[in-house]
């Protein structure tokens, strides 16, 4: 008895939105229902079409004469979930999956275009810059499965519209991406639907962002629990001044006691519930059960009244809607934990939903299928940056990380250019995706009836979209990611057959990635197409292109990067010819191998000997220091006119490439990087070595990829962290501009 008396009754104010807790499935279930409803007409329609079409296609399927055109599977956020479920099945059954991406741009400045003068590490920096700055708007995924009964591939082209909407309110700077005007115009030319993309595009979180969001969540909830408990222990008193308040508080106190006593009676007597409420109260107070415990839900009180109620109960809180009776302190803790877990689950569901399109990437990664792309190094970099995390600073690290997620990648462009047999077949034709497709798969590309000899060679591909099937499909929508992925897959299938892979025989016994005929090309990607550098994803080794086709492109047979000087900021009237003239006057007619314009403000000068680079830089420096008559008459003066001519060696170019800013002109970029010196001297080989190392160290510091990490850790316990702000309203945002807080909270 005594023990019982000592036991206190705890009232807990439940924070947060009422619907969230009392009916946790409420809003979401409703939304789902809505989604189903809106989706149904579309589905019904497509089914009707399919019925109408299947009539004709089934009759023609044996003959295969006309090519049918039905749209490929477009996926937006409204049909994402069912489409993902379908895709899971298709990918699981697939022999390989072809992918393609449409981006908002390729190069953030003309001088960032890939050049013959790109060393492999610079190539990677350029790709990295592109993947970091631009967004992916469309993602084509096309699983291919060999159907041995039909002796044909079944392809399921999917076209995902994606848009990096910030579904979760995150602290930190507003996300931005870059658009290259010409790329956007290019997409428009092919009827890309920007409205669908922006309205309906599927959002996503990278793995990095997801774990960050979850980590912040747990922090938030731990904090909240802590504060709540501490609040319970030291109740905050609010002086009651107004008589009206005292009266109100007194009445509420009575009501609660009465209610509690009523509950106790109920328990002891097992009789009917006797809590008497007067008519006014019954509207505002309602007994419900919350987590198996009796609770009073409070409705229609003002915040001031709620504050008074809270004071009556000796606990601090606000916007509470429930008073829950608990039997003991343990029980109270248990309840708190339950509530907390529920909040956490809710939030986790939200994070899960925000993961969005990344589920597709995770699917491709977890299924470990062979991924097929066309010239896809940039695509892979985008996938890494958007769906995994910040890009590493070197190609080697990047490649080894990629290899873990996607152990088997094959690039059709590498395949077409490195195999001699295919080379002959391709003759001299271009290896762009559409021309390769037209050449290798004429029966699909042109929808024409193949001659008998070709039929032998052609791999059959049947396309299935929802219920529609065709063995002769051509949507014709070039430069739509889904269709491009389909073309890539077809080119790959055809190429395999040319390499002598018998799908019928091999696919039943072994996986395609392990086929010995593909071993020479698997996991090889073009680091840069323009200079033919290839990188091996498994080893991280770089090599120049091994065979034929591309070699004639290399006008600058052997580029000695040590022999290159970089000059920028010279008078704009100087052309390559003039610059060469200036320099050859000093260093001799054969000293300059090539002068290459990076853009109108910068040139590369390739000297015939490495020592010329340091001599040139030293000479420039001395000339600029002395302004006597000798320097005026010196042949180099023309180059130095205007006084803002800068020069350095190739390492500086790399340094400038690695900076995050995006100025259109190289000279402006160099200035933005913060280069204040006029000439970077290179004294000897040793000196340049140490210099290189220094630059390298510097760069790891200013590596932009590490920046988001830093920022995020700074913002962890941020006051106006909206996620937290939503869950606990009692934090007062105290900043100079309240509008800011408003904006974020309404996000």
């Amino acid at each position: 008895m005594k023990k019982r008396r000592r036991r206190r009754y705890h009232f807990i104010f439940y924070l947060g939105s009422k619907t969230l807790c009392i009916n946790p499935r409420g809003p979401k279930a409703q939304a789902n229902a809505q989604k189903m409803n809106t989706h149904r007409p579309a589905r019904a329609l497509s089914r009707a079409i399919s019925r109408a079409l299947s009539h004709s296609s089934s009759s023609s399927s044996s003959v295969q004469q006309q090519s049918s055109t039905f749209p490929l599977k477009n996926v937006t956020k409204s049909n994402f979930e069912p489409a993902l479920a379908d895709l899971r099945r298709h990918v699981a059954a697939a022999d390989f999956v072809a992918i393609d991406l449409e981006m908002t741009g390729i190069t953030s400045a003309p001088w960032r275009d890939s050049l013959e003068f790109d060393r492999a590490d610079v190539c990677y920096l350029k790709v990295k810059d592109s993947a970091e700055k631009f967004a992916v708007l469309q993602f084509g995924v096309c699983p291919f499965r060999w159907d041995s009964s039909k002796r044909s591939f079944i392809a399921h082209p999917h076209n995902f519209y994606i848009f990096p909407r910030q579904e979760l309110p995150v602290a930190g700077p507003t996300y931005e991406f870059l658009c290259q005007t010409t790329s956007i115009d290019f997409l428009a030319k092919y009827q890309f639907d920007f409205n669908v993309c922006i309205h309906e595009g599927i959002s996503y979180l990278s793995r990095g962002q997801e774990s960050e969001a979850l980590r912040r969540l747990s922090l938030t909830f731990d904090d909240e629990l802590l504060t709540r408990c501490s609040n319970l222990k030291e109740p905050v008193h609010m002086p009651v001044v107004k008589i009206a308040d005292t009266l109100f508080a007194e009445r509420m106190k009575n009501t609660f006691t009465e209610w509690r006593d009523g509950l106790l009676n109920l328990r002891s007597s097992n009789g009917g519930f006797q809590f008497q409420q007067n008519s006014n109260d019954s509207q505002q107070l309602q007994t419900i059960f919350f987590k198996m415990r009796p609770a009073l839900s409070l409705k229609g009180f003002t915040s001031h009244q709620l504050r008074l109620i809270q004071m009556v109960n000796g606990e601090k809180s606000c916007q509470q809607q429930l008073v829950v009776r608990t039997d003991s302190e343990d029980d109270r803790d248990l309840l708190l934990k339950e509530v907390k877990d529920e909040h956490r689950r809710e939030a986790e569901v939200k994070v899960q939903a925000a993961v969005g399109f990344r589920h597709v990437i995770d699917l491709l990664s977890s299924e470990q299928k062979l991924i097929v792309g066309h010239n896809c190094f940039l695509d892979i970099a985008h996938i890494y940056n958007k769906f995994l995390g910040p890009l590493p600073s070197t190609a080697e690290e990047f490649v080894s990380a990629v290899n873990k997620y996607f152990p088997h990648i094959i690039d059709t462009k590498v395949l077409l250019n490195t195999d001699n047999v295919l080379q002959q077949r391709m003759k001299k034709s271009r290896t762009s995706l559409s021309s390769a497709f037209a050449l290798l798969c004429p029966q699909i590309a042109l929808g024409k009836k193949s001659t008998d000899s070709e039929v032998q060679l052609c791999v059959k591909v049947e396309v299935q979209v929802d219920d529609l099937r065709s063995s002769n499909w051509n949507s014709g929508a070039k430069h739509e990611a889904g269709y491009d992925a389909f073309m890539t897959g077809c080119v790959f299938a055809q190429t395999c057959s040319h390499l002598g892979i018998d799908f019928q025989a091999c696919l039943s016994s072994e996986k395609l990635p392990h086929n010995e005929k593909l071993q020479k090309q698997i996991n090889l990607l073009y680091l840069s197409w323009s200079n033919g550098d290839i990188i091996d994803l498994t080893t991280g080794k770089k090599k120049a292109m091994s065979s034929g086709y591309n070699n004639h492109k290399k006008r600058y047979a052997q580029i000695m990067f040590e022999n290159i000087a970089l000059i920028w900021g010279f008078p704009s009237k100087l052309k390559a010819r003039d610059i060469r003239e200036c320099i050859t006057k000093v260093f001799g007619p054969t000293s300059v191998t090539t002068v290459y314009h990076l853009d109108e403000t910068a040139v590369f000068i390739q000297f015939s000997k490495e020592k010329f680079v340091s001599e040139f830089l030293a000479l420039k420096e001395t000339l600029e220091r002395s302004d006597g008559p000798v320097s005026v008459l010196h042949p180099l003066t023309g180059l130095l006119e205007g006084g803002s001519t800068r020069a350095a060696n190739y390492e500086t170019y790399k340094e400038i490439c690695s900076s995050a800013s995006a100025k259109v002109l190289f000279a402006d970029q160099a200035e933005a990087v913060g280069i204040k010196w006029k000439t970077k001297l290179v004294e000897s080989k040793e000196a340049s070595e140490t210099l290189k190392r220094e630059i390298f160290d510097e760069k790891s510091d200013m590596n932009p990829a590490s920046k988001p990490e830093k920022l995020r850790s700074n913002t962890d316990n941020a006051q106006d962290d909206p996620l937290r702000g939503r869950l606990s309203h009692y934090k007062i945002i105290d900043t100079l501009i309240t509008s800011e807080g408003d904006r974020i909270r309404t996000n």
Binding site: S108, G172, T174, D193, F194, N195, A672, L711, Q719, T735
Partner: protein, 615 residues
């Protein structure tokens, strides 16, 4: 589009149908296809109107809280902020609305120009690339903005600076603008050159006239020998020149033949002149005809090159007062997109802008004259406030409703309406408006002040209304402010204040703390000189015990100068603390004279100022 589920398609179609409702003020949507006829119409409306209101829609606003103009910004720093935003984001929609306001009758003619920086000339102009904020695009989409219409059919443009660059690069021949100081003496080389080309021209001319009935072989041979070509239907010949001097000499020489020959100047690819082209006309009448042809060609080309900028040029040429809601943001964009790249400092910008738009009226600034509106940045809210509190009927057909498609396009009309109301309430006299020519009576001039991005101008106004709101503003000089950062994250201004109170003697006097963003706070010392004392104490060797503790925890402090430097250097990190740290690292600027600072005064408002930024 065809592949879309029908419900999506329906939604997009619906936006276009609802906006076709014909009302007097119905906004005219202008795209590439109807630009030239709309331009004529716009020209007429513009010339008959008193004002023109402009409203812009861009692809983003601010990246981080401190990047937007704040009450503690000077003209300089807020210009830096506006410049940073203007240079990155792309203008997609330009609403221009010429309107008349007579005896409280408002007649607007709203136009909505949809823009896209398409590279029509394949020269990487007007914009190589631009930034986009997905969150901003999403809210634009929610307001009914049609991105397809914009990207497919938006009107392109070139700025004035880009136009001249483009013309030089296109290398189209231009008619010569020959002005020769005849007194200049000819050197021997000059005389040789002139004689040589003169004989060539003579020879060529007579040959052209005599060979009407030549056979094909002969004429083609002649072409090769004499460098004769055909320009349009007329024969022509190119005279190669090596310098501008030779161009002038050639033109002088050609004056002798001015009755029949028309010289054209062929520019070289990166500026300068490549050659002088001489075109032979058959008679004086033919020569006139040819010159007219050339002129038309040039106009056509100009139209193609300038694109939408014609509208800007029209507005500028009309000299009508331009009404804008957020003039600093809008006009930095207008300047960088349509005039030339933004200059580095605000004074140059003002000078350059003033020469193009002499009268700019900022509605935001007008609103500041009505106390409670000072904080209001939302046009509809301001209108409803004025409707409830003032009797100032403005005669216009009902305001456009929110529900109608693209909300943004109606903003400009609402802005006209708000402007009209404000004019009526602030008694900006009617007679100033009615007389068409003397548009800007002194009363209105007072408000036409774009230099009010910050709070450094109101002292010049003597108007009764202004005192109302300056009352709760306290004047603070920049040197009374100290930026504080490096404190534990999650601290509130109150916590910082109480922390500081215990730390140093200077805080026994009155001071205030406000958070700028979560990383950085600003401290105002109400007594002058204390900020220096505090900064000295922070950096001195014998730092006092209490201060030492918080400094060792990482607290940093710096003067307003550091903030200005961060803005000027463009250190736009997400957290102000980060930017200030970087600004301190940049040693070059430590030496810099800070003479300008002392004169700068800003008004410290006791409540937050909210910037209208995106509607």
């Amino acid at each position: 589009m065809a592949s879309l589920p029908p419900f999506i398609r329906r939604r997009f179609l619906s936006t276009t149908t609802t906006t076709n409702v014909s009302k007097k003020w119905a906004v005219k949507e202008v795209t590439k296809s109807n630009f030239s006829e709309s331009l004529e119409e716009f020209k007429d409306h513009l010339s008959s109107s008193d004002f023109v209101a402009v409203s812009l829609q861009k692809t983003g606003s601010y990246r981080a809280p401190w990047h937007r103009p704040r009450p503690f910004d000077t003209a300089d720093t807020s210009y830096c902020k506006a410049k940073y935003a203007a240079e990155r984001f792309q203008l997609l929609q330009f609403a221009a609305c010429p309107f008349t306001l007579r005896a409280s009758k408002l007649t607007p003619y709203p136009y909505n120009f949809v823009l896209f920086p398409r590279d029509e000339l394949k020269m990487g102009m007007p914009t190589y690339s631009f930034s986009v904020q997905p969150s901003h695009l999403t809210s634009m989409a929610e307001e009914g903005f049609d991105f397809n219409a914009c990207i497919y059919n938006g009107i392109s443009y070139l700025s004035r600076a880009q136009e001249s660059a483009a013309k030089a690069r296109m290398g189209n021949p231009t008619t010569s603008s020959y002005v020769m100081s005849s007194s200049s003496t000819h050197t021997v080389a000059d005389t040789v050159f002139v004689e040589r080309i003169k004989s060539r021209v003579k020879h060529w001319k007579s040959a052209c006239k005599n060979t009407k009935k030549d056979n094909a072989l002969l004429s083609s041979l002649r072409k090769i020998v004499m460098g004769s070509e055909i320009y349009g239907t007329r024969p022509c010949m190119n005279l190669d020149v090596c310098s501008e001097r030779q161009v002038q000499l050639a033109l002088e020489m050609l004056k002798e033949f001015s009755d029949e020959l028309v010289p054209l100047i062929i520019p070289a690819k990166g500026g300068g002149t490549q050659a002088v082209r001489v075109v032979l006309t058959s008679s004086t009448a033919d020569k006139d005809l040819f010159e007219r042809e050339l002129q038309n060609l040039e106009e056509e080309q100009n139209k193609r090159v300038r694109g939408f900028r014609e509208v800007i040029d029209l507005i500028s040429a009309s000299q009508k007062p331009v009404v804008s809601h957020n003039s600093l943001n809008d006009f930095t964009v207008i300047h960088s997109e349509f005039l030339s790249p933004l200059p580095t400092n605000v004074d140059e910008f003002m000078g350059s802008l003033h020469s193009v738009f002499p009268h700019i009226l900022d509605v935001n600034h007008l609103m500041k004259n009505i106390g409670p509106l000072r904080k209001m940045t939302n046009i509809p809210a301001a209108i409803s406030y004025l409707n409830n509190h003032y009797f100032a009927p403005i005669d216009m057909e009902i305001l456009p409703q929110e529900s109608e498609g693209n909300i943004h396009r109606h903003n400009v009309v609402k802005m006209c309406y708000l402007f009209a109301k404000l004019c009526s309430i602030l008694k900006i006299s009617d007679n100033a408006m009615v007389s068409n020519n003397a548009l800007l009576a002194p009363a209105i001039k007072e408000y036409s002040n774009i230099s009010n991005p910050c709070f450094d101008s109101p002292q010049e106004s003597t108007n009764e209304d202004i005192r109302v709101w300056t009352k709760n503003m306290r004047k603070v000089s920049c040197d009374q402010l100290v930026f504080l950062w490096g404190f534990r994250s999650g601290m509130t201004a109150g916590m910082i204040k109480s922390l500081l109170c215990k730390s140093h003697a200077v805080f026994s006097e009155e001071f205030d703390v406000r958070l700028v963003d979560k990383s950085c706070a600003i401290v105002v010392f109400w007594r002058r000189g204390l900020s220096e004392t505090f900064l000295d104490a922070m950096s001195s060797e014998e730092i006092c015990e209490s201060l030492m503790e918080i400094v060792s925890e990482g607290l940093r402090a710096s003067s307003y100068e550091t903030y200005k430097r961060a803005c000027r250097l463009g250190l736009w990190e997400a957290d102000l603390a980060e930017s200030l740290d970087k600004a301190l690292e940049d040693s070059d600027y430590l030496m810099e004279a800070n003479s300008a600072t002392n004169s700068k005064e800003i008004y410290w408002s006791s409540d937050s100022a909210i910037n209208f930024d995106d509607l």
